[in-house]
Symmetry: D2
């Protein structure tokens, strides 16, 4: 029996980190050795997340001690806070998958949409972790940036057509866990229930990832919406392409035939079909002279922690699907 | 004090008819004299809908007796069943607002999307009841077809730009009451909760109304989605227009400045802001070279029974907003 | 036409105060002249609560200026903060209904369950505002303490039997608006959805009101639960009484026959039957040798602001139901 | 490697059967060989339940062919329909766990609460499958009746005190999946959302199981409630016992210390803590002279299919927790 890879989850008290902890804890080839948290340090993880049943106590981040006990880490810190944490772990030789935006974008684009970058010297080695798009690079990477939840769904809906896109509208609907664990007016039950609403109409930061990953110059508009759902994200994409509709469908079949986590569905996918799975279900249809491509994911799984483990599997030479079925 | 207009609601057991009954019952210039129902005939309305507090017993439809007791009717029958009922009431001289699709479309278009028309001879006199678009004709009409919920929101989002539309995507999200009172797998709580999904991607019948009301040849795609909300509908419209963005916004201000039920909102409107009101809240913004126009309504109010009463007010010479504030 | 009574809502940004503002604004015999808020001072009320459509700007509380413009006030401050505000308004001659717990209890009981009382000298004049129980005193009162939401429902379920209670279990289920507008882990959508849970099992402070209002020595247990509902509260009461079941039912009929806001229902009432109304629907049934009494209210209406206006109507000599139908 | 036990799920299209299929399909010592359905025969299971990912086609029930391919069966038919199906499978030598009420009760009690029994000759061998209460008999049984969801939670809340119960109120709250997959007015999203309501106040049939399992003569009242939750059930039990509170708590610790699926919790358990698990979380507290015992389960898992597999594990000599972690 091969020895287990020891893994830490840094920032395990938030929603993304908690799912990462849960998946790693049950993963047959990983040993979850360290959980860290900031304000919740000292508490057992299963006290915060009883369903996930991870019996470890969360501790303050101590990079040296962590490096003695882990070979790899999933970092689930907020944007800005992630970069220094990732840097310190990389310096100690750990392979890292980062859930924040800090290593998803080139420096110029990052600083335009977010803030001054805290560890720009790492950007060269960072790989954008949309597994289906960058599998080979991820396999070789020491640092992978797990994509945002919206770009994951939108890009998987669009990827097979990427050479043919002329005009794209992405209307995306996300559950509330995408807004994080912090209690705000936005996440208050009374604000969310019996409500649907768009937000950041003129520029959600996830646009930057679409801009980077789609061919230069693709005209696209992306508008996110909040819906009264806990976990789940649907990206509805409306595409004008320079290819016949029938050919477009062939491209999807070809692209996703062998993908373990992307499924073509004959019917429009519901987010409940993928809840608490790493799957993305895609439905494509030609409607008049437009292609409608719908992709449903669980925003915390394929849209964050699930994809992070999928990437980590590749980085560690493990089967891509291990621990995720 | 002027005498009251006597009004009947035909098909008061369904969601749309029930709201019509509720509004008419409290309307200062209407006297709600008759409610009809099919399988629920004999039951008191407030037994089915306690909150609405309409204490009338629903009866079987008897056109002659109804005509003795009412001057106008709101018909809330399913498509196909409505036409004969409307016909019989028109023959007896009642003014009618019909909530079904039966009189919204020209015959050819109706029969393409729905079925053989049961009363085509009435189509000439029928007016499409989007109040803001056809106010003057409605005032003169004996028969008004209240628009579908999706077209109401989409058209109000697009109307001020209608002469300038080149390409339109309408991504609409509806609450479950839009699917009607019938219990089906689609409306089962377990199917709806924690789920978002598109449906009828390649052709919802409400497309026909958009096609009819938008300028001939406008390229548009309309995809409806179901969200876990009881009442509420958001139409997110993505428009390429032949007009500068700033000018576009002026058109909205101009168009809606005096409208009693359409409000321009500085923020993307949530459906909960209009729940149980006849209002439509519209937010417009130029995003790059596209115009994003969002319209939120209550699908049972402005999207059905509320607009029906708004139309009826005009038909009866009453103030347009009466009974709806 | 009689002149209007001028009324202020102090603390109009919270859920209870917002509903009070909404009701007073539409009340035919009240003129809503002042809204105050603390952190939201300077904002228009309808910006926070668009559906309620109260177009006033909220201001900081300035008792002198307020007293010039209002004859009565509804105070919707948190416990502890309310007492000094009420005191200052009473000193300026306003009639006051207070939504907090500060004037619901005798001093000793208040200080046992809450904190040191800030205005004990007012306790003598304060009347407990369960309208159905204390109507005559309320009519004469200058200061009324609107009951808590749980006690309102539980006491209305139990009141007709109050002389016969031997043993009572109150299992109550409340919607999330009862926890207030503050964003906390408890009110986070992700905590609430797909969840039901009891809280404060060994002593919710509303127990003190039950203890005070039920006959001395009645054995009772009260456990509140949080359910994924926005507005609504159901109190399920399990009673052992020293009276035959049939006689018990007669007591309810007698007690509530003439009550404008309490209805006996043949079926167990759903909270959705009373949403956004001031009604309480009660269902009573003998089950074996126990009496099961169920009462459903809207926690923000009959459980807070609605009952406050019902009380205010009496204090001002207005018809009890005015503005509440 | 030991050979797998071949298992069939009869009635796999309903909610309980579907979860049974899902659990058996992933169970390391079971081979799921047959799924049957009635109106859905011919469809793949993962078409109805994509998340569960069971790729078998459901077939009509053919007992002879089934018996060739399975050693055991979980039957998930409605009450009444189950008995003949169970009989025919027992006659062919299969071990059976039945999810219906048909074998939970003695004949007299069954026929009083349900209907004429279709296979009374099997009642003698049937064991009531509350694992924690009847583990040894289950191990030897050929036919086990999985308890109802309400009795499972209520009995686990009460079991350690069963010798000391004097008076019990069980106020239970269930999610909608407990009402089954059939689309009815009760399960319509619009009926459920924003609503809490009691039902069958004067006698839910699950009372019969409590009556049977609790000591003869225990005075108890059981009232079920429907809450807007998909999966989850909370039983809140209010107990008068003939034992000191401190001793009562000891009884719970003792009873559940070694139970793999029952956990004592320091806090009132939320149903979301056990969603999609076979766990029951119990919280007990002395409140005055009463004991409050709260038990949370997932109604489809520990309340139906999970417990069925727990029982089946015992019947087949497998570790009790296998396939359920």
């Amino acid at each position: 029996m091969p020895s287990l890879h020891r893994v830490a989850v840094v920032g395990a008290a938030g929603f993304g980190g908690a799912v990462a902890a849960r998946i790693c804890h049950r993963h047959p080839s990983l040993e979850l050795t360290v959980l860290t948290a900031r304000s919740d340090a000292g508490r057992r993880h299963d006290e915060l997340y009883p369903r996930y049943r991870v019996p470890l106590v969360m501790e303050e981040l101590d990079p040296d001690r962590l490096a003695e006990r882990a070979d790899a880490a999933i970092v689930a810190y907020p944007h800005g806070a992630a970069a220094p944490a990732v840097k310190t772990l990389r310096e100690r030789g750990l392979k890292v998958v980062d859930l924040s935006a800090d290593f998803r974008l080139g420096r110029e684009r990052y600083e335009r949409w977010y803030r001054r970058h805290e560890a720009p010297e790492l950007l060269d080695e960072a790989v954008y972790g949309l597994t289906e798009a960058h599998r080979d690079e991820i396999r070789e990477a020491g640092l992978v940036a797990a994509p945002g939840c919206y770009p994951t769904a939108a890009l998987l809906a669009l990827w097979p057509l990427r050479e043919h896109l002329q005009d794209v509208v992405v209307d995306a609907k996300s559950g509330v866990s995408g807004a994080g664990r912090e209690a705000t007016q936005t996440t208050h039950f009374v604000s969310v229930t019996e409500n649907v609403e768009a937000y950041k109409v003129d520029g959600h930061r996830h646009s930057a990832e679409l801009e980077q990953e789609l061919p230069y110059g693709t005209r696209f508009t992306f508008v996110p919406h909040l819906v009264p759902v806990e976990q789940g994200l649907l990206a509805s994409c409306y595409v004008t392409a320079d290819i016949a509709a029938g050919d477009a469908l062939d491209l999807y079949r070809e692209a996703y035939e062998e993908e373990p986590f992307v499924e073509l569905s004959d019917e429009p996918p519901g987010t409940d079909e993928v809840r608490e799975t790493n799957r993305c279900r895609v439905h494509v249809r030609a409607v008049g002279d437009r292609v409608v491509a719908l992709a449903a994911i669980d925003n915390l799984w394929k849209g964050a922690a699930g994809q992070a483990v999928q990437d980590l599997n590749l980085m560690l030479g493990l089967p891509e699907t291990e621990g995720l079925e």
